[in-house]
Amino acid sequence: MFNYIVSQLVNGVTLGGMYALIALGYTLVYGILLMINFAHSEMFMSGGYIGLGVLNLLSNKAVQAAVVARLPFLAFLQSARTFFTGSTIGMILMLLIVFGISAVLTGCLGMLTERFAYRPLRNAPRLCPLISALGISIFLQNAALLWIDNSIPFPSLLPTRDFGFGITPIRIFIIVTSLILLFVLDRFVSTTRIGKAMRATSQDQDAAGLMGIDINSVIALTFFIGPALGAVAGIFSGMYYGVVTYNMGFFPGIKSFTAAVLGGIGNLRGAMLGGFMLGIIEALASGFISSGYKDVIAFVILIIVLIFRPGGLLGESVVEKV
């Protein structure tokens, strides 16, 4: 019994790490533009796809052969393959490259969507950017569907061992990496000059401009960081479930949005807390009641929290005097 509870908790924290990473994207954008970025779940998906693409380029013999046939200058990848797949150092390096490229490219995709789909609507009624976001979401899903099959296996990469209590290398990897990223982001926003500029912009855009902060750069940066973190979660998801699909963002997207609301949307630590809480609640609910009811229970808890704390768990309510 004890074993079972612990292993469910480990599973919950793993899911929670992914939810927290995605939830940050929702909360960062909401904090600054008061807009729910419905395309964020597709950033997660794009991250998974790009990650898999880079991974295949580095380690998959058949993919390399096909690519090199068209782009001969990439032939060096074939010789690097044994290094990446054959040694531990190569493996670690390959993971870094996969995560790095995917995060950067997905971050750029996020900035592009902001530049062309949201910025022109900055002064439009609030519904307009929401609809634009839905459009981007549908566009990206269909682009993924057109481009490759609707679901592609993702190699597991890490050894499949169980250290007991359901602790596996992949779970350790996901939990540790997400905690590191969350910590780094938290420090970045609260202590660095640019982080402070982001906070100021989210509290009062005009006043931030009067301080000499370039608002458009801050917003662009926000749309880079959110999707980059989402991309990391997308690769985690691919590694964890062994597959990426064009609509893989849908459920994690809704769950993570819920997590952001649970913690207090607009609040970074709230999104982290909400993500882990939701993951753990879900894992325990599916372990002890029924996996069919896990979403019901997670959302009932959300409703209860919002009844008593409408601003979310960490939603600040600083009284603003006029």
Partner: protein
Amino acid sequence: MAALTTDTPDVKSDAPQETVTADTAPMLQVTDLHTSYGKIHAIKGISFQVNRGEIVTLIGANGAGKSTTLRTLSGLIAPQSGSILFNGSDIAGLKPHVITAKKIIQVPEGRRIFPKMTVRENLDMGAFLRRDADGIKQDMEWVLELFPRLAERINQKGGTLSGGEQQMLAMARGLMARPELLMLDEPSMGLAPVIVEVIFETIAKLQEKGITILLVEQNANLALGIADRGYVLETGDIKLTGTGKELLANEDVRKSYLGED
């Protein structure tokens, strides 16, 4: 509009001379400025100037266009036409952060401090574009001397301060940027008379320190009392101008803005 386009080359060719005679030329020269909110034509071709070291005030009733003028000067709203020369270069239509970098600092209407940041963080944000750590530290000490109440509340969140303290914080934050031209938008609004007195005493001190001030006020009596010169705005247009004393003595001003019949 035609006149405007022919004016522009002249202004450009004058520019080198302006820099040579920077001390005598006005610091801020606004010429035929028009600003609109959508279809509402809020500023209808106003021209005025602020000389180095002066306190100049724009007074007028609600909706006369005072705040709109300041918001146009600080770049929060783009002007429709007209020129705004600051130290000889045209800043009309630039983004707020670019204008702030030129040391034109606006203390906005309604304070607009950062409510979830501490007093210290708010002051740090004022110095956002500065890199001189020592100078920032000195200025921090100076503004805290200027407003001792802020020193007492240095680690408190901005949103928990009283209205008067927030106004002090907004001014102190503006000063942290080391302004050449400080633009104050309704600093007395909604404050107790005791606090208003403190604010206006401080404005006088700032002038002694060499900071040029453009003051927008509804409280004409106070504003004209402290100002070297003033302009009276009415429905987007300048109706009257003169020294503070002249305007205070002017019959129309006394009737319309000082509540005398």
